[in-house]
């Protein structure tokens, strides 16, 4: 099946400092992909760059195609149709994500008018339907309200309604629950997975919360210092991480069952993007680091069906496997 989105060699630099250093990622229709990694690893930048939402001074190169059509550097008119119409995005801080001086109705109907062939009364009816869908009580009256009159969780629901307005094929949820408290988090994630199922949408869930990703995604990609270091089906990644960074992330999670154990932490800090190590960016923190790690950055290579890792240890073991198979 042809992928919905295919990203190849995506690079982004701000003022000469590389932030994304060659991201390769594919996303199938209707698939839920989790994108995890520390802050600054490039999770959000990947999608902002793909949709042309980065500030003008960002240097973007590589390729992003949607249904086989290149959209990186596409004309503004095409991008405006794609944004909200094919690919919608919701953001981390709901409190500042809606325009404070416009009513909910205005902001919701704006999205509907842009992407749906609706007029007059039907626009309002559709806005109401969306608000009901995302669970805003007393929606008819609340349409006239301003963002500050809603709680954080409600604003995030409105953001989701607005994202759904264009019937998108892909919803990018950029840390959608980070600013919300735990019970509201669970409700918002529940809502996201419900609408995804009902609308058959693909979803990218950007998060640094591995638990959130494990529960809501089919496949997970782990990012580190502007690259994807491992991608795998969610259950396989959590059961058997291959990249030492992914192992570190998962080792830092407390297990729910089994004996109590000391949680491991990854030593050191993320390298400064202006002074990246020459070889593997994770090598300075990696307990398995060897001499070849400092020479060249390993590329993301498949190790099994639907699994890929960027680590020379994985490459070595794969070569060994292939060698055995060839004999």
């Amino acid at each position: 099946m042809a992928p919905l989105v295919n990203i190849e060699g995506l690079r982004v630099a701000f003022g000469g400092v590389p932030v994304l250093r060659g991201v390769d990622l594919t996303l199938g229709k209707g698939e839920a992909l989790g994108l995890v990694g520390e802050s600054g690893s490039g999770k959000s930048v990947t999608w902002l760059a793909a949709l042309g939402l980065l500030p003008r001074h960002a240097k973007v190169s590589g390729s992003v195609s949607l249904d086989g059509r290149e959209i990186l550097g596409a004309p503004a008119s095409l991008l405006d149709q794609i944004r909200g119409g094919r690919v919608a995005m919701i953001f981390q801080d709901p409190a500042s994500a809606l325009n404070p001086v416009l009513t909910i109705r205005k902001q919701l109907c704006e999205a509907l008018a842009l992407h749906r062939d609706l007029s007059g009364k039907t626009v309002k009816a559709e806005a109401l339907r969306l608000l009901n869908l995302v669970g805003i009580p007393d929606a008819a009256r609340r349409l006239a309200a301003y963002p500050h009159e809603f709680s954080g969780g409600q604003v995030q629901r409105i953001m989701i309604a607005m994202a759904l307005a264009g019937n998108p094929d892909l919803l990018i949820a950029d840390e959608p629950t980070t600013a919300l408290d735990a019970t509201i988090q669970a409700q918002i994630l529940e809502l996201l997975s419900t609408v995804r199922r009902e609308m058959g949408m693909a979803m990218v869930l950007i998060s640094h919360d591995l638990g959130v990703v494990a529960e809501n995604c089919d496949r997970v990609a782990v990012m580190y210092a502007g690259r994807i270091v491992e991608q795998a089906p969610a259950n396989q990644l959590f059961a058997d991480p291959v990249h030492p960074y992914a192992q570190g992330l998962i080792g830092a999670l407390p297990p729910l069952d089994g004996p109590r154990r000391r949680l491991t932490a990854i030593p050191g800090t993320v390298p400064d993007p202006a002074h990246m190590p020459r070889g593997c960016a994770f090598a300075p923190r990696c307990v398995f680091a060897a001499e070849p790690c400092g020479l060249a950055a390993p590329s993301l290579a498949p190790i099994a069906d639907d699994r890929a890792v960027a680590c020379i240890r994985a490459e070595a073991s794969r070569r060994a496997l292939l060698g055995i198979a060839a004999e």
Binding site: A76, D80, R83, M89, F91, P100, A111, H148, E149, A163
Partner: protein
């Protein structure tokens, strides 16, 4: 819901006016004896005493204050100590001349400053942005009398295109209006630019782009209404200076407006006239602030809510 927001602000405005009136009274009584200033130090003591008695200057200070205050409440603003005419008449007849400078200047400030600020913000870092900002910094660091003299030097003395002072024709108004406009436009351009930049960096602007709103519409219907809130503050301040904001410029260009009258009246200790002008200035300032507050309530739904709950 808005009623309470406005009631609080009107109350504050009234209090401000009372304070200004009191302040004017205290400062002017402390700053010298009007009898000596007007009649001269050589005047015979009995003439000075008669002058003081005639104007009530020999009454106890608190009595003078009450007298002064109740007169103001009744709308009696006293007579000029110099020519005996009602002070309010002297001031009112100067207002048209001042407005003839400040109103066109206000229009130019807005028409130049706001578009320049918006353009500079939208093209941040471009050559035009840098040019606008350099002009703006020059425009508001150069004091208005320096700018006025510079314009006189170039357009009146060197080129001889325009008169350097007086009020005989519309050509006499060009240099004073230009002086007032340039400084104000510079302030407004800088203010509008930073307000726009602040707003353009907000997450809701990215949200609007992310839902497919074309950039032009993001600017007009999402950014501008938000940037208008801080810009209205500075506009309100400018409206407040329409009556007495041209003191320096009127003096440089010998333009017979309220500002010139104020300078002369202060020099002469003509208390009633000075008080009358101060009261007028306070009234325009306070009412323009009140208008700004009303506009805030109109522009920003969050403030409306705060006022209602305050």
């Amino acid at each position: 819901m808005m009623g309470r927001y406005f009631a609080i602000r009107i109350g504050r405005a009234a209090l401000t006016i009372v304070l200004v009136v009191t302040f004017a009274f205290v400062v002017l009584r402390l700053s010298g004896d009007p009898a000596l200033m007007i009649l001269g130090p050589e005047a015979p003591p009995e003439v000075l005493a008669a002058f003081r008695k005639a104007w009530g200057l020999d009454d106890p200070i608190w009595f003078q204050y009450l007298d002064y205050f109740s007169a103001i409440v009744k709308g009696e603003l006293g007579r000029s100590m110099r020519d005996g005419r009602p002070a309010i008449d002297l001031v009112l007849e100067r207002i048209p001349a001042t407005l003839a400078l400040t109103l066109p200047a206000f229009v130019f400030k807005v028409a130049l400053g706001i578009p320049a600020g918006i353009y500079a913000a939208l093209h941040r870092g471009s050559a035009i942005d840098r040019a606008v900002m350099m002009t703006a910094v020059a425009g508001f660091t150069v004091p208005s009398f320096v700018l006025a003299l510079l314009l006189v030097l170039v357009f009146a003395v060197q080129l001889g295109w325009l008169p350097s002072g007086g009020q005989d024709s519309w050509r006499h108004a060009i240099l004073p209006i230009a002086t007032l406009s340039l400084g104000g436009a510079a302030v407004l351009a800088r203010f509008t630019r930073s307000a726009m930049l602040e707003v353009l960096g907000q997450p809701y602007i990215r949200t609007a782009s992310a839902k497919g709103v074309p950039w032009r519409k993001v600017v007009t219907s999402h950014a501008l209404p938000n940037a208008a809130i801080p810009t209205v503050t500075i506009l309100g301040f400018m409206v407040g200076t329409l009556i007495a904001g041209a003191v320096v410029v009127e003096s440089v260009f010998s333009w017979p407006g309220v500002g010139r009258l104020l300078v002369v009246a202060v020099a002469n200790r003509d208390l009633a006239v000075v008080q009358c002008i101060l009261l007028l200035v306070a009234l325009t300032m306070v009412s323009s602030n009140l208008i700004v507050d009303f506009l805030y309530g109109f522009l920003d739904p969050r403030l409306r809510a705060k006022g209602a709950h305050a």
